[in-house]
Amino acid sequence: MVSANTELTYNSKIEGDVIVSRADSVINWIRSNSMWPMPMGLACCAIELMATGASRFDIARFGAEVMRFSPKQADVMIVAGTVTYKMSSALRRIYDQMAEPKWVIAMGACASTGGMYRSYAVLQGVDRIVPVDVYVSGCPPRPEALLDALIKLQEKVKREPSASKLFSA
């Protein structure tokens, strides 16, 4: 007879005090479930970013509610809005000040490609100046789209060879 295992958590009385896993999965599990965003709000997308952080959509459900206005404490830069050439140098410097590991979400049409601003003043896609992990379409994207991007980024982080990167250097 097979007894149903109703235990959802690790029970040290049954399984002992040892957990066997891979370093990659442990590190990535930790990283992906508490990604602190750097809210790089530059235009109307920032309003949707705020809505994503507020109670109805609640980015805290995915462990990314700690918006850090200091790049030193942030893991993922959410570029929300139109990046002008004048702002682009500041954006790159903020990215450089973020500690590794770090990721970038380009939120909305402007951050992804320059959007409708085909003009002399606007950077034609933030990927010209920082490496982007996830692009979100929309003008502006709905909060659900940003949450979807965050989940996609978490899935991407979970596939990274973190341990070899950490311990090979």
Partner: protein
């Protein structure tokens, strides 16, 4: 007679070079650039036009003379009337008019913007730097001979340029320019989007 009409009549009587300017809405004046500060001060102190609403520039065309005009809108907060004052720049290559910052400190940023976009210099301005584009930017973007897509230019931060190997480029205009459709009731149809897809970055635009 409204105060605005009285004011422009008085100003025309006092300065010989001041003439009427064709206008569909507010009373308007053409003023020779050297008389500009005195006329604006008179409008403020003697006729109650105490608020400077905006300062803007006009580039008429590349070959036009005068090529550049500066336009001021002044408003009377007591009489609720506007007067428009326009001054042509004598020199087409290095346009210059006297500053109005001594009369309205609020003219400061307006004039910096006109300088940034058109290259019109305001003599006597306390801090005539660019206000929208970065300081080293070599062009004046709202001039008629400047393309909408922009001109390839270096970014201001040398370290960032060295790291990213990128600069300000001419924006891809494929299918553009991306302008809204005027007079469209349906806002979805009026949105800015590609209007002309007969050409691409690789295929030249067919002659009209």
């Amino acid at each position: 007679m409204p105060a605005a009409l009285e004011a422009i009549t008085a100003v025309k009587g006092r300065w010989a070079g001041v003439t009427d300017r064709p206008s569909l809405d507010h009373p308007a004046l053409n003023v020779p650039a050297p008389d500009l500060p005195a006329v604006l001060r008179s409008l403020r102190d003697e006729h109650g036009f105490d608020m400077l609403v905006d300062v803007s520039g006009v580039d008429w065309a590349v070959g036009a003379s005068p090529r550049f005009t500066v336009v001021y809108h002044v408003f009377s907060t007591a009489g609720h009337e506007y007067v428009r004052v326009a001054a042509d720049c004598a020199d087409n290559a290095f346009p210059e008019v006297p500053t109005a910052t001594a009369i309205w400190p609020g003219a400061n940023w307006h004039e910096r913007e006109a300088y940034d976009m058109y290259g019109i210099r305001f003599a006597g301005h306390p801090d005539l730097r660019r206000i929208l584009m970065w300081d080293e930017y070599p062009h004046f973007p709202l001039r008629k001979d400047f393309p909408l897509a922009g001109i390839e230019t270096e970014l201001p931060d040398a370290e960032v340029v060295a790291e990213t190997k990128t600069g300000a480029i001419a924006a891809p205009m494929m299918g553009g320019p991306f302008v809204a459709s005027q007079g469209e009731i349906n806002l979805t149809d009026a949105e800015p989007r590609a209007k002309d897809e007969s050409w691409t970055e690789r295929r030249p635009k067919p002659d009209a």
